[in-house]
Symmetry: C2
Subunit: 161 residues, 2 copies
DNA sequence: TACATTATTGCAACATTAGTGCAATTACAA
DNA sequence: TTGTAATTGCACTAATGTTGCAATAATGTA
């Protein structure tokens, strides 16, 4: 079959993906994951929000409606490759948030505090707040720690004035 | 109808409930909850364990098999009256543990660390380990904190020698 | 003890979340 | 362009969470 002339450079093609899509591709490929429209949309949502999100919340925000199971598997694969981390909760549903630099498929480094606002019920990552050391009783071997603080977030404090 | 003679004193009746049942009654009534066989069994299980338990785990341990919904509601009512508190988890199911003294339906005082052993996967309450203070960024109002530490528990450390 | 009142239980029904298997489709690299 | 392997969508199943309501049981009072 005849070769079709190249109409666009690779850069023009990347640009045609939109402002954010090319970096998304890099982020995904950097972890060994293939880029798909669905994965791009999910990752983009996490980049637009600094909050931990549930699957249900994501479904409402996604630009294209795709299969629930696909989303389920995307979240798990993102976690496995160090793109997302689970955020502890006592609600019974799983929450994920974007990992900061340094997380990989081998190890997560999200030793920061999470904050849940009891007013707007958002769960925020506070990457600048480290989890303080805790002295465990004799015999316990420390692995890692997760800290969730409940309270009122700055936005809700302001709007309540 | 003829009056039936009293055969047992109130103390003998309480004793006939078994060693632990009378105190259970007191615990429940102290919080305004009625004593029932089902509630007694659930509370007894929590008293026998120093770990946080899921509904599924409780169902396997309960001496009498009663309705799933009843257990669901017992756990929620126990939490509401300050008998149990939720424990952080990322498995997707809710975990409860026995509250120490000082919790009421108005307020929970479980500012202690929880420890999850990655070997035996038990989640233990460490009431003697307080959650350290955390300095939040400007604008955030602190409510309360929950800290879960992953690692190896003393029992599992010993048995791995 | 008997009764009235009110809380609790069990059942039915439904909603949400989790998870697996497999065939069709798509991404990627040769 | 094409082959291969990863990813997706669909069907289906399991587990957990939640509410309404009628039957039942616990408690206080007479
Ligand atoms: Mn985070
Ligand atoms: Mn506890
Ligand atoms: Zn808020
Ligand atoms: Zn252990």
């Amino acid at each position: 079959m005849m070769e079709i002339p190249v109409l666009f450079s690779i850069f023009e093609i990347e640009e045609s993906l939109g402002v954010e899509e090319a970096p998304l591709k890099d982020m995904l490929r950097g972890t060994g994951l293939r880029y798909t429209k669905q994965r791009g949309e999910v990752l983009q949502l996490f980049r637009e929000h600094d909050t931990a999100l549930t699957q249900a919340e994501l479904e409402k925000m996604l630009p294209s409606q795709f299969d629930r199971i696909t989303l389920y598997r995307i979240l798990r694969s993102f976690e496995a490759s160090g793109l997302l981390h689970k955020v502890l909760d006592d609600s019974g549903t799983t929450r994920f948030a974007l990992c900061r630099t340094g997380c990989s498929e081998h190890e997560h480094h999200d030793e920061h505090v999470h904050f849940r606002c009891s007013s707007c019920s958002k769960t925020l990552c506070l990457p600048e707040v480290a989890i303080p050391d805790v002295k465990l009783p004799k015999g316990y071997v420390f692995g890692d720690a997760k800290l969730l603080i409940d309270g009122i977030c700055p936005e809700c404090v302001i709007s309540s004035n």
